[in-house]
């Protein structure tokens, strides 16, 4: 047994209102740059729908993830090492920009500078790739809220795998939102696909990253990831991906998408797993057994043997403690309500989802029945095959039994807690009907519905990293080419244009961002030295131009007047 720790996430889909706040804040933080215009490390897609990039779930087409060979061995679906090398000059399975969408901006300038005329000037859309006028015909969430789905919905790869027909008419169908980030898989096919060895899984917390200095732009990772969560920065020619906000996680802060989530539906915590058994679990023959296999790879942090093994591997005690308090572990293994997204890709993804009960509740209530009554809900869950089939297509490789079990637990919680809230005696049978006790249901309710900040995020801070953080602070300005070295600073260009040279350390980038924000007139324009916009000043530091200059010769402390 080789115990490793994995920082992972669970999302409670019932609470997602599809507001895209997570996507926007993530974009502002990480991908608001040229070359990354089309990239959303976090995206929220409406299901049923095509997703982003379009039909990424169709692995017959895109060949992401792993497959089993005839002899039952695990190999990359898009072809092993030699095939990768042979197709290095042209990667046949790479989505092109139109499978994502062509990024654009609007000609805002026209609104201000157009001459006086009869008609109101309009801001025409301009392609960010060609600079020419363009007709917008797709985007990262074009079929949001089933908009236009009558035309495209049937191309949803999950629907196509289902035997039952789903009505396209809005009144008759169902819908929910699926927020997605990189899964930080236990068996990441993106890492396996990288010919340069630039991608890696961090040994400490399992975060999957791209080494920007080592990436050579072969784009095999984009093909390799079945979730299409590695992106090619077309300006720098390097792959980039969701970093699980590692600079925040390392200091104990939740990711930006979690922190800003309006529905407060994201949970972050550690799980311990047995790294020696990952390969074996991923090679489980029957796709529908992959869920159980992945669950069995995760280790119970309360088991003394596991704790001892974790200590032997050098996992610090506060990390073990965090694993024991982890909401992710509780949702996956104690309450068994979280399920992985597309286990059949065999990457052992580590962002899990609590499937939504709302499609069922909606049907029950719209037919005039009581959507909080346990028995009505149980009956509806087993009758409403279509949403159930669809959810099974997403989370359990088509096996409806585990999804049904989760939905029944959620329904039981709903009905049990109604009794509690109405001051009635809760019916213990409601809980025992789904294999739980009343107390467990109440605890689960606390975690899912009350969802306190400290219970949602149990993030131990990094250890070894502290040393390097301090290092970075100590010499942050005199890294090669940095401002302290007389270099060009953060906006400057490297020797081969703005995308070359060495990447700026995170701390330096933040230092500059903060100082230019403090001193900028507008949040986006370049700052004018000597003028301070008080609106943007956060009270720290002493920006130039805020106070009158010290008078020469007067070194007496100024009196408060």
């Amino acid at each position: 047994m080789k115990v490793m720790a994995q920082m992972s996430m669970v999302m409670n889909l019932d609470k997602c209102i599809g507001c895209h706040t997570c996507s926007v804040t993530c974009k502002q933080a990480w991908t608001n740059r040229t070359g990354m215009e089309y990239v959303w490390f976090n995206n929220v897609e409406t299901r049923p729908g095509l997703g982003y990039p379009r039909t990424y779930q169709d692995q017959e087409k895109w060949q992401g993830g792993w497959k089993l060979t005839k002899r039952g061995r695990l190999t990359l679906k898009a072809g092993g090492r030699w095939k990768k090398l042979a197709s290095i000059f042209f990667n046949p399975k790479l989505p092109d920009i139109h499978d994502y969408y062509e990024p654009w901006t609007y000609e805002y300038d026209m609104l201000l500078n157009a001459p006086a005329q009869e008609h109101t000037p309009v801001a025409k859309p301009k392609s960010l790739l060609t600079g020419k006028d363009m007709k917008i015909s797709w985007s990262a969430n074009w079929d949001d809220d089933l908009g236009g789905s009558t035309a495209t919905m049937q191309q949803d790869p999950v629907l196509q795998h289902m035997s039952s027909h789903v009505a396209e008419e809005l009144e008759k169908t169902f819908m929910f939102y699926l927020p997605r980030i990189c899964e930080h898989c236990l068996n990441p096919s993106c890492v396996a696909s990288c010919p340069s060895g630039a991608m890696y899984k961090r040994a400490e917390d399992g975060i999957v990253l791209v080494d920007q200095d080592q990436c050579r732009g072969w784009r095999m990772c984009v093909t390799g990831c079945p979730y299409k969560k590695v992106y090619f920065n077309h300006k720098t020619g390097k792959a980039e991906k969701c970093t699980l906000c590692y600079p925040r996680i390392e200091v104990g802060l939740p990711t930006v998408c979690s922190e800003t989530c309006v529905g407060r539906l994201r949970y972050l915590g550690l799980v311990l797993y047995d790294a020696d058994r990952v390969g074996e679990a991923a090679a489980t023959e029957d796709e529908q057994d992959l869920l159980a296999a992945q669950r069995s790879v995760l280790l119970d942090p309360h088991d003394p043997e596991v704790v001892a093994a974790a200590r032997r591997e050098g996992i610090p005690d506060d990390w073990i403690d965090a694993a024991q308090r982890s909401p992710v572990w509780r949702l996956i293994s104690d309450y068994e309500v979280a399920l992985p997204l597309h286990p059949e890709y065999r990457t052992l993804p580590m962002v899990w989802y609590i499937p939504p009960l709302s499609p069922v509740v909606d049907v029950v209530t719209s037919s005039g029945n009581d959507g909080e009554d346990g028995r009505t809900l149980f009956a509806a869950i087993s009758q409403l095959r279509i949403p159930l089939d669809y959810l099974a297509g997403l989370f359990t490789a088509g096996d409806t039994a585990p999804v049904e079990r989760v939905l029944r637990r959620l329904a039981a919680m709903r009905s049990f807690m109604r009794d509690v809230n109405l001051g009635r005696e809760p019916v213990e049978e409601t809980a025992s009907a789904v294999g739980m006790t009343g107390d467990e249901v109440q605890e689960m309710y606390r975690l899912l519905a009350i969802a306190k900040y400290e219970e949602r995020y149990v993030i131990p801070t990094a250890h070894a990293e502290v040393a390097d953080d301090l290092e970075e602070m100590a010499c942050s300005l005199d890294f090669e080419g940095g401002p302290g070295m007389g270099g060009q600073g953060m906006d400057g260009a490297g020797p081969f244009g703005s995308s070359s040279g060495q990447p700026t350390p995170v701390a330096v980038e933040n230092f500059h961002a903060l100082s230019s924000r403090q001193t900028a007139d507008s949040p986006y324009g370049p700052s004018t030295p000597g003028r301070v916009n008080l609106l943007n000043w956060d009270g720290n530091g002493r920006p130039d131009g805020l106070f009158p200059p010290d008078e020469p010769g007067s070194d007496a402390p100024r009196e408060a007047s």
């Binding site: 790479l94 790739l129 340069s196 961090r202 200095d213 020619g237 610090p316 502290v466 060495q502």
Partner: protein, 254 residues
């Protein structure tokens, strides 16, 4: 034989200057610009033409490089020793070389056409790229011309560069340059050699450096790569200061 200043310049000074720039420039670039070291692929923008052009170009190039290796590095006496007659050598070299050149040139034409005609690809073409394309095309076209002109059209066994250019080329690396060998080399070859030297001089400063990143070790490594945060962030900065013991947590794991 007396050599003119121009000949010394062309066959000693320029080659050494170019090769030095090539080596030193590459080391310098690797040291200071790993982030800019990439293929800068434009496959995201356009796939149809690239699907054809890129493999044609690159596989053609591999064939041509192999041909140059045989022609320049392996002495004529060696091939004779293993029983390859002059006729056989000439036949193979000319026709394989021409085939390689055909692939290479058609690939190049497709790629240049694509670069010019596809909006986003053209927009992503930097000035260095354009300069590089001119240099690359000049070397390739002059080489093709030299082959066609002195080997195919000349009749007989064509011009035997293995008596002149090849020994001169090797003499450069033995640090005993013999520029006299290059006197009287056909103009086509003189032009090709000079242009190629210049191409090597600009090589480290263009995207051509991606040639050195050919991922030959990929088949040898395990699929999943683990790296410790220590190694990932600690490298390059100074060692932790004494008096502050960083946790050795998990360092043992690969």
């Amino acid at each position: 034989m007396e050599l003119s200043a121009a000949e010394i310049l062309l066959w000693i000074v320029v080659p050494y200057a170019c090769l030095t720039t090539f080596v030193v420039g590459t080391i310098w670039r690797y040291r200071y610009d790993k982030f800019g070291w990439t293929t800068r692929s434009s496959e995201l923008y356009e796939k149809r033409l690239l699907r054809l052009g890129s493999p044609l170009f690159h596989f053609g190039l591999l064939a041509v490089i192999a041909g140059h290796f045989v022609g320049l590095v392996i002495p004529e006496s060696w091939t004779h020793a293993v029983g390859v007659t002059e006729a056989a050598y000439h036949f193979l070299a000319t026709w394989l070389g021409t085939l390689g050149a055909l692939l290479l040139v058609s690939g190049l034409v497709i790629l240049v056409y694509r670069r010019r005609s596809t909006g986003p690809v053209f927009l992503a073409t930097t000035r260095t790229d354009k300069f590089m394309y001119v240099m690359l095309a000049a070397s390739i076209l002059s080489g093709t011309w030299a082959t066609v002109h002195t080997q195919i059209l000349a009749g007989g066994f064509g011009y035997d560069y293995r008596q002149t250019i090849s020994p001169w080329f090797r003499s450069l690396f033995l640090l005993q340059p013999e520029p006299a060998l290059m006197v009287g080399v056909p103009l086509a070859f003189a032009v090709h050699v000079t242009l190629a030297m210049l191409l090597f001089a600009v090589w480290p400063f263009t995207r051509l450096v991606h040639a050195f990143s050919a991922p030959v070790t990929y088949p040898l490594r395990p699929y999943i790569v683990y790296r410790s945060r220590d190694a990932a962030t600690g490298g390059g900065t100074r060692a932790p200061r004494p008096g502050w013991e960083p946790s050795t947590a998990r360092r043992k794991q690969r």
